[in-house]
């Protein structure tokens, strides 16, 4: 017991207890207030919502897209094209060809639309540099969307070619409707011109 005097236990206060006090007024006001707010919040929630569709769903957003709507070329370019061709259209050296000042973009609109529809698998020379990659087909996009993308890339980054209409895309789509494989490089594409 000689060490007992030095033990940390001995300098402690008592183990705590709780006092009996009336509830603070703040709490007595707070509780009903919170209750009113919660009831209000629940009562004003959207009661027509179908719980099997998720939180805050707009029904029209879940239906098939209606054709004929205006397509936003810049937005489509950002979501579908910029990953490879980059947001400034400069491409990635040796991997993805540039669109800025590309003869394939500003040249024949027919060929451009065909590239967008079916993609490319094979060699292609852009601005004097040879690329050998695979561009996926985008024929799942609507005519309006493809026209919007084509128009967008023909008018950006110093490109100054004419816009492409949805009618042109529709015609091109019709002309190569049976095609299922991508264009085999520039050899096949040049024949289109």
């Amino acid at each position: 017991m000689t060490r007992l005097k030095q033990r940390p236990h001995l300098r402690e206060f008592d183990d705590p207890e709780e006092r009996d006090r009336p509830l603070p007024r703040l709490l007595l006001f707070l509780v009903p207030f919170m209750m009113l707010w919660g009831g209000y919040y629940i009562a004003t929630m959207d009661t027509t919502a179908d719980p099997t569709l998720g939180d805050g769903r707009t029904r029209t957003a879940l239906m098939p897209a209606v054709g004929g709507g205006a397509a936003n070329g810049a937005q489509l370019f950002t979501t579908k094209c910029a990953a490879c061709h980059q947001s400034a259209g400069q491409g990635v050296a040796g991997v993805f060809p540039p669109l800025a000042a590309s003869e394939w973009v500003t040249g024949s609109e027919r060929v451009l639309v065909q590239i967008l529809l079916h993609g490319i698998q094979g060699e292609i020379t852009v601005k004097g540099v040879r690329y050998n990659g695979l561009m996926p087909p985008w024929k799942s996009l609507t005519d309006e969307e493809i026209a919007a993308i084509a128009t967008h890339i023909r008018s950006q980054w110093g490109n100054g070619a004419s816009p492409v209409t949805a009618a042109t895309v529709a015609a091109e789509r019709e002309a190569t409707a049976s095609r299922s494989a991508p264009w085999k490089g520039e050899s096949e594409l040049s024949a289109l011109k």
Binding site: P51, T52, L53, G54, D55, G56, R57, T58, R59, T60, A61, L62, M63, P64, V66, Q75, L76, T78, T79, K80, A83, C84, Q86, V92, A93, G94, V95, F96, N132, G133, L134, M135, P136, S140
Partner: protein
């Protein structure tokens, strides 16, 4: 005395059990009951074995910690305008075990990555070195999913194409089967089918 003692413990134990039971009912059982009979949409394709293997790679390497798979409604956030697809619905996930909804968007939502980026070559190169294709990306590189090969090219070999800044001369970067599987999974992430018929439009 002992009676009062038991009342206290009883009150505590029963109260705690009641509360947890209530929470389980509200947050586990009720969603189960609401969603268990939701049929899969007709456009939803079951995963192939390869895609499921790729899904495991996605889980093992924690893609979920930066990528969500749950586009929100246009009335809440512009997820759709970013090309991430229509808002997702519970039916889209009936084949997902485990779920991969995610809670972070350090990178973009991937629920429809196959729709906006269907190129296998892009995915492979981007996994090998994200910064080769996207300047400023903070996604980790995954070199351990690829092999470096030298010597003559073998038939049927997929080679990652890289810009000069990231390529090593004389070395080919070839994806491992894990990388191929992972990309197969990513290319299966296409929920562009509608979930409500057009007739429902009012």
């Amino acid at each position: 005395m002992s009676g009062a003692r038991q009342v206290d413990v009883l009150r505590l134990g029963l109260g705690a059990l009641f509360i947890i039971a209530f929470a389980i009912t509200a947050l586990v059982v009720m969603p189960y009951a609401t969603l268990k009979d939701v049929p899969p949409p007709s456009g939803l394709k079951a995963y192939t074995e390869q895609q499921l293997r790729g899904r495991q790679i996605y889980i093992a390497n924690g893609c979920i910690y930066c990528h969500s798979q749950q586009p929100r409604d246009p009335s809440i956030a512009p997820d759709q305008a970013r090309g991430w697809g229509r808002p997702s619905v519970p039916a889209d996930y009936v084949i997902d075990k485990p779920h991969l909804l995610g809670t972070m968007r350090t990178g973009p939502d991937l629920f429809n990555i196959a729709v906006r980026q269907p190129s296998e070559a892009w995915h492979l190169g981007h996994l090998y070195q994200p910064r080769a294709y996207l300047e400023g990306s903070i996604m980790p590189a995954y070199p351990f999913l690829f092999e470096e090969r030298t010597g003559p090219a073998q038939p049927g070999e997929t080679v990652v194409s890289l810009p000069p800044a990231y390529a090593k001369p004389g070395v080919r970067i070839v994806p491992t089967p894990e990388a191929i599987d992972l990309v197969a999974y990513l290319l299966a992430l296409d929920r562009s089918y509608p979930v409500l018929p057009a007739e429902a439009r009012r």
